[in-house]
């Protein structure tokens, strides 16, 4: 996709006057000089390690003795014997499936609320965005633990309605919900992207729809959603990929354990425990590769499925 876009200017240049082709010849060597930090990084810190972790995933490795080839053992154990692995998979899937739609739904709703062109919108937009900057920090995760912990705000508010949940972070039924709540709290970033998308929707479409007698709901379904669908796809892919890699919130809220009863054991948290507390680096590498494949597959599926619902103005279906 990027290839075709990039070779085009290169071809045009060959037909251009001497100044450009001279600079082009000189540019060849210079380009690699400019690119050298990236080339070193891509080789030594990306491609090399990817291959290395693929190799390690077929070995037993504890960082100190040399890796011992065990074939598919890590993968077999992961899928058939390791209960905690499945706890991690379950918790992560629940986390992704619940948090991403809630986050995007809230982001879209607030974006619609703000998209009225009223005064002060910029200020509100910034205020809504603030949690996205703060939410990844240890500080806020600690606040969350206190708020949803023993005697915290959440329990008291629910208590007013006669619901007694006690300390939510200490109960398997609710602990993951508190982690999800922290993810949803950071809806500001996708909201800002939605807002930018809403501004692009041509006003005439709404006027035409209103003239045709479409009410607010109809206008939303028939105009806003289709026009916003490329942005929605972008947000969906981005948030899904990020959600699969969430770590800090679950780590801090569960004091690094992923408890109670593995209910907040997100995938990367278990990977961390296996790799860096048990020093089972082969196993952790196998986990990382499964994550890569699953995230890759889901991304492909999202884009494939997008053909059916994403609408590009003036281009028909892509």
């Amino acid at each position: 996709m990027a290839n075709t876009a990039l070779t085009r200017p290169a071809r045009q240049v060959t037909a251009r006057p001497a100044a450009r082709s001279r600079s082009r010849r000189r540019g060849q060597g210079a380009a690699y000089v400019f690119l050298s930090p990236w080339i070193v990084g891509a080789t030594v810190l990306t491609v090399g390690p990817m291959l290395a972790s693929l190799y390690l995933s077929f070995t037993d490795y504890d960082l100190f003795d040399s890796p011992r080839w065990v074939g598919l053992d890590n993968y077999v154990r992961m899928f058939t014997e390791d209960d905690r692995y499945w706890h991690a998979v379950t918790a992560t899937l629940e986390y992704v499936v619940v948090s991403v739609p809630l986050k995007l739904g809230l982001a879209l709703a607030v974006a619609m609320l703000l998209n009225r062109g009223r005064r002060g919108t910029g200020l509100y937009r910034s205020a809504f965005y603030a949690p996205s900057l703060l939410g990844a920090s240890v500080s806020v995760a600690l606040v969350w633990r206190a708020m949803y912990g023993d005697g915290g705000v959440a329990g008291r508010v629910l208590g007013v309605f006669g619901i007694d949940v006690g300390s939510m972070v200490d109960q398997p039924r609710y602990a993951l919900l508190t982690v999800i709540a922290l993810a949803v709290w950071q809806f500001g970033a996708p909201m800002v992207i939605f807002l930018a998308g809403l501004k692009q929707v041509p006003k005439e479409l709404y006027e035409a729809a209103a003239l045709d007698g479409a009410g607010p709901v109809r206008r939303f379904v028939a105009v806003t959603l289709p026009m916003l669908s490329p942005v929605l796809l972008f947000n969906l892919v981005l948030e899904t990929i990020h959600a699969f890699q969430s770590f800090t919130s679950a780590f801090i809220i569960s004091s690094g354990r992923g408890g109670p009863s593995d209910s907040t054991l997100l995938y990367t948290l278990y990977l961390y425990q296996r790799g860096f507390t048990d020093f089972r680096m082969g196993y952790a590498s196998a986990m990382a590769w499964v994550l890569l494949v699953v995230v890759g597959l889901i991304t492909v599926l999202l884009f494939r499925g997008a053909n059916r619902w994403v609408f590009y103005l003036g281009e028909g279906r892509r």
Binding site: P37, L56, V140
Partner: protein, 292 residues
């Protein structure tokens, strides 16, 4: 809209409209307050004396006190808070310098220069934006372990000097492509090679992208917990997030006050950046997000 501009609406309609506007502002403000409640509560609790911390719902402290802060500045886990602040600052500043330098160099090459393999390399660079870091994490750790660099800042800073944050390379490539080509050509006619063109023409014009990159790199590194948790294990090297976590592990529930005071200190730089650059940050998200 155009009709309204020429024909003044009747007084009743105008009043209705202003009532709706007030209602809108009230509604949005309420949502903002609910949303920011955890942060407000965090700040106020950090000023509460120990016996008030437990009665945690009241937003304002009855007897505000600086005791929690005094305790934190008296040292945490055997080291001064300034040490952790300094460590966090060193790591973040190093990361910013690395990203700005390496990403702008790579972006100039990808965005302007012609070389064999540009298409495939660019495609590869883009694909690494979405790569989960866990798949390179363990071999990277092994490399730094073999080099004896675990428990130093190098594993946190060095990769930034090698343009591993592909997102920022992409951001800057987009920006470089938007600059008028005539500028480079003029520089070339004046006898500037690619290096001087980069330094005197491209880099100064790249300033907005450099600022966006710097702000986000700083905030993300400052907040980063995962990488720092993996690479730093000696308390003297701890950054603020690590010190905060250790502090919580070592103290009981009753230490909420000092814990929150430290949490606030850890968020202060983010807050300052946010207040100073909020427009920049939000615009950065909406434009780079849409281009992506």
């Amino acid at each position: 809209m155009t009709v309204q501009a020429t024909v003044r609406p009747a007084a009743g309609v105008r009043r209705l409209r202003s009532v709706r506007s007030v209602l809108w502002h009230v509604a949005v403000t309420v949502v903002v307050l609910v949303l920011l409640y955890p942060v407000i509560w965090l700040v106020s609790t950090s000023f509460k004396p120990a016996d008030e911390v437990l009665s945690r719902l009241a937003l304002l402290p009855e007897h505000a006190t600086g005791d929690n802060y005094r305790q934190v500045f008296g040292g945490v886990a055997g080291y001064s808070i300034w040490q952790y602040l300094g460590n966090s600052l060193a790591v973040s500043a190093g990361a910013v310098a690395g990203n700005v330098l390496s990403c702008s160099l790579a972006a100039y090459a990808f965005g302007r220069l012609h070389f064999r393999g540009r298409g495939p390399l660019f495609g590869f660079m883009i694909s690494t934006i979405m790569l989960p870091q866990h798949v390179v994490l363990i071999p990277q750790y092994i490399i730094f372990h073999k080099l004896g660099l675990v428990n130093s800042f190098w594993p946190l800073i060095l990769p930034k000097f090698l343009a591993t944050d592909a997102f920022f390379v992409f951001l800057m490539v987009q920006f470089v492509r938007g600059l008028p080509r005539e500028l480079d050509e003029t520089a070339t006619v004046d006898g500037c090679g690619p290096f001087r063109t980069f330094w005197y023409v491209i880099l100064p014009l790249l300033r907005p992208a450099v600022i966006t990159t710097s702000i986000f790199t700083f905030i993300w590194t400052w907040n980063d917990f995962f990488t720092q948790l993996i690479y730093l294990n000696d308390p003297s090297k701890f950054t603020l997030p690590l010190a905060l976590q250790i502090f919580v592990d070592q103290s009981s529930q009753s230490a909420y006050g000092p814990m929150f005071a430290m949490s606030v200190l850890a968020l202060v730089p983010i807050g300052l950046f946010f207040l100073a650059f909020q427009r920049f940050l939000v615009e950065g998200v909406s434009t780079s997000g849409l281009k992506g």
